[in-house]
Symmetry: C2
Subunit: 292 residues, 2 copies
């Protein structure tokens, strides 16, 4: 295989994804705002460019894994969409609002390029292990080209139709559910602890039985120990996501009281200067409230 | 095996548990307030008695699976504890407050009997399939006698030490987490639905990946379809459990804002006359709020 891919964004998730693509035989041209982050990719054979636009080939494929809506809109300017042009495909893996995806899709349409949303559910180690999952949406023809590329480094790809915002809705819903699971464990384990039961023992029972799913087993360890490091996803990004969730819900008149509660936990965690912890540190709020 | 067991309470859960014990070879003497519910057990060979106390043998084993704290306290009077007497073991499988378990344990102690808490996580069909799980706590010697009896019809038994209330705390924490999972899915699926994504498709992705656990897979079907039948656990019992959770938390100064939210969902569901639905109908609140 010698297909070329432009790759924008080498953060915690972008880097292992780019590495997986190189290992799968793709020729990558990579760009990152902080250029030094491209060094490990360069050593694996990626071409590194100084400006995002120089990575783009007309009619080619570009994958972006960027921090948030603002960065995506800033980096993926009209100029880039124009250069990507006819037949070009933009696989946007960032967790952004469905509205931003829909707007970007329109801009791509003007230049006869195609934008598809393909946000990934995976922490960096899950990308390396190939056990992440992708929600995908957008035009069918482009998805059929994107899927074999993505399949190399994930377990499953779930298709949510033609609306380019649909996959982002699913990603936001999923992230909300993860955050809510953290709060849920925070409250349950704290109640158990103050009743003389070790957080570890209730964690073990519940995550081996009713809640035997990766989210509870992996994040539950953080909550059981009340230790929220190492950081894979910063707390401020968690707040960003829940804000997007609530905005997306509000746009279609859906109240989400549980998401409101989660949002306040994130805000409080930032007030307590926990931004350098993993986003799962929101679960510490329940312990704080109980004076534990 | 021909060991005798007294069995009190033949409701949705008690009946399949009693049947499993008979199939495992135990000689059961059963009692239920509504006597007709004992008929199927009688056909399997159980001895049926009219008064709970007649089921009890001094120094023997009694298993109770009753509806709530009030019923347990009413049925398991001092008279019964006295008759159970020296060497007798009471395996209490009801979901009741830890405080009630501790008080009952003291009463048993007076008569040299032993009370152990062994609430079960299982819907009736899970008992039949032998895939439920039990949290157990109380005096070690009695637990060692109880475990082989219980092992026959569950997947796992998790020991939470000598405090007779500990297993009830774990059961309440777990039930809270199930209820919170229902609300979480209700909000997430409704947000997706009003964004043009079918509840079924987001249910499928999330419960095959991040949330691939029985709670989400099984209850998620109810939430995906917004159909909360057949009833395995009535909505009013869900409210009873969350009230116990909040009381148990409050007793040790643990605020549980997510549990407060769940409690209000149950109250609202009762106001909407949903008591004849399964407790998972609390998840319909999110749809109602969204005018869906």
């Amino acid at each position: 295989m010698s297909e070329k891919i432009a790759f924008l964004g080498l953060g915690n998730l972008g880097t292992p994804i780019a590495e997986s693509l190189i290992k799968a035989g793709y020729q990558l041209t990579v760009w990152n705002r902080t250029a030094s982050k491209a060094d490990p990719l360069a050593r694996l054979g990626a071409k590194v460019v100084e400006n995002a636009i120089d990575a783009i080939e007309t009619g080619g494929i570009v994958i972006s894994v960027l921090a948030d809506d603002t960065v995506v809109e800033e980096i993926f300017s009209m100029e880039l969409a124009e250069k990507l042009g006819k037949g070009g495909i933009h696989i946007s893996m960032s967790t952004i609002s469905p509205e931003t995806s829909r707007q970007l899709s329109q801009i791509h349409d003007w230049y006869e390029a195609t934008y598809i949303a393909a946000p990934i559910f995976a922490r960096p180690e899950a990308v390396v292990a190939g056990v992440g999952n992708i929600a995908i949406s957008g035009k069918a023809a482009a998805k059929e080209i994107a899927k074999p590329i993505l399949q190399g480094f994930v377990k499953g790809i779930y298709d949510f139709g033609e609306d380019p915002g649909a996959a982002n809705v699913v990603k936001l819903a999923g992230n909300f559910m993860i955050a809510a699971s953290l709060e849920m464990m925070g409250e349950a384990f704290t109640m158990a602890e103050k009743n003389g039961i070790s957080r570890q023992s209730i964690y073990e029972m519940l995550t081996q039985t009713l809640f035997a799913a990766p989210i509870f087993q992996n994040y539950g360890k953080f909550v059981a120990n009340n230790v929220y490091e190492p950081v894979a996803f910063k707390l401020a990004l968690g707040l960003k996501d829940i804000n997007l969730t609530l905005q997306t819900a509000s746009d279609v008149n859906v109240p989400m009281p549980m998401a409101d509660l989660i949002r306040n936990r994130f805000i409080s965690a930032l007030a307590k200067k926990r931004n350098n912890l993993d986003w799962s540190a929101l679960a510490q709020g329940a312990s704080d409230d109980a004076g534990a």
